[in-house]
Symmetry: C2
Subunit: 193 residues, 2 copies
DNA sequence: CGTCTATTTGAATGTACTCAAAAGCGGTGG
DNA sequence: CCACCGCTTTTGAGTACATTCAAATAGACG
């Protein structure tokens, strides 16, 4: 089994070598090149993905044609449109590789099988979903309580590996501000020092 | 077992009457009067709650002393600080009754017991957490793509039962705007008609 | 080297906030 | 029963933060 995935799982639950081996058989490897899509709005999300290397952005396009980034995913992160994948309904989201990337994919029927055959997998995803929910709740509160500059600084401090892979345009669309304003924030910070 | 809780569970998983009965024994009933707290920042969240009747707000207080509402909960909703409850760490959140309310409480050790003795309960909470996560993700995207007025209208249209129980001050603190501005939005909408 | 995209900058604009004051509303006690 | 008190809501004037638009500059890539 892929060592990165194994360590990722072990952070949340304990699986025997046999269970890990079995779970591993449900995944296939895929390479996605820069600018290509794992998912486009309108499609059903067929896979949940675990990122081995590279970088992705998950975003939606609103009625004015603006892109809004929900989150980024780099090595060791999970990736999917949960709603579309779980309920097999058309997605509202796009998932795009920002650089040449490699991922592990599990489809819906294999995931259901995993839940049945390895009950601890259900726990794994419950725990991971909880953690993701907690981070999303924190983000909602921060969007309301922090200034744009503070949110910019928070992102740099907490996601330095991501910050280094993305443009200001993409960061702006994650923070919910314009890229011109990101540029002005950067200037202001530079002047302070 | 409480009929409301039973129906709530049945929307996500199938439990036998015996399983429902057993799960029910893990809960106790509690009345919380208007303005009283189920949880205050600094405390460990001891219970997960299911609201039978009444209304609650979950909020944090930021460094400037402003209250930011994470969500409201009325009849048929679940309520907790997931991070604090799951990891038994001090909470950053307040949970306050906005009117005289009645809730069912389950503590951490009973919840762990439920996971062990009724594995489908693990699935129940995985599914509920997923749905909550999806709604939080939608909220993040909407906060970036909709204007304040649109978010106000969205809330009224989608949570009419909550809207009717809360003040503009509380709604404003959920939407991430000032209550004065909510008032101005209302005037603008009234003039349109 | 040329093209495409990202970044920076400035001026004008707009959305939402702050502060202060008035008006409305609901509950409570005399 | 009504007068009062506390809290909510409204309103307006002035202000601040962030956007829009346009143009110049810088950087990355084939």
């Amino acid at each position: 089994m892929n060592e990165l995935l194994k360590q990722n799982i072990k952070r949340h639950i304990n699986l025997s070598e046999d269970e890990l081996k079995m779970f591993n058989t449900y995944f296939k490897t895929k390479v996605i090149h820069k600018k290509n899509y794992l998912l486009k709005a309108g499609e059903v999300c067929k896979y949940e993905a675990f990122v081995i290397k590279g970088c992705f952005r998950v975003f939606s396009i609103d009625k004015n044609g603006n892109e809004n980034v929900l989150y980024f995913a780099i090595s060791d992160w999970w990736l999917s449109d949960i709603d579309s994948f779980t309920n097999q309904i058309p997605s509202q989201l796009f998932i795009q590789a920002l650089e040449d990337s490699e991922i592990l994919l599990i489809n819906k029927s294999n995931k259901v099988k995993a839940y049945q055959e390895i009950p601890k997998i259900e726990r794994l995803f419950r725990i991971m979903t909880q953690k993701f929910l907690v981070s999303n709740q924190r983000r909602i509160l921060q969007n309301h309580s922090l200034t744009s500059e503070e949110r910019y600084q928070y992102f740099l401090a907490n996601y330095p590996q991501i910050a280094q892979k993305i443009t200001n345009i993409q960061l702006a669309s994650y923070l919910g501000i314009t890229h011109e304003f990101v540029s002005k924030i950067r200037r202001k910070i530079a002047q302070k020092k």
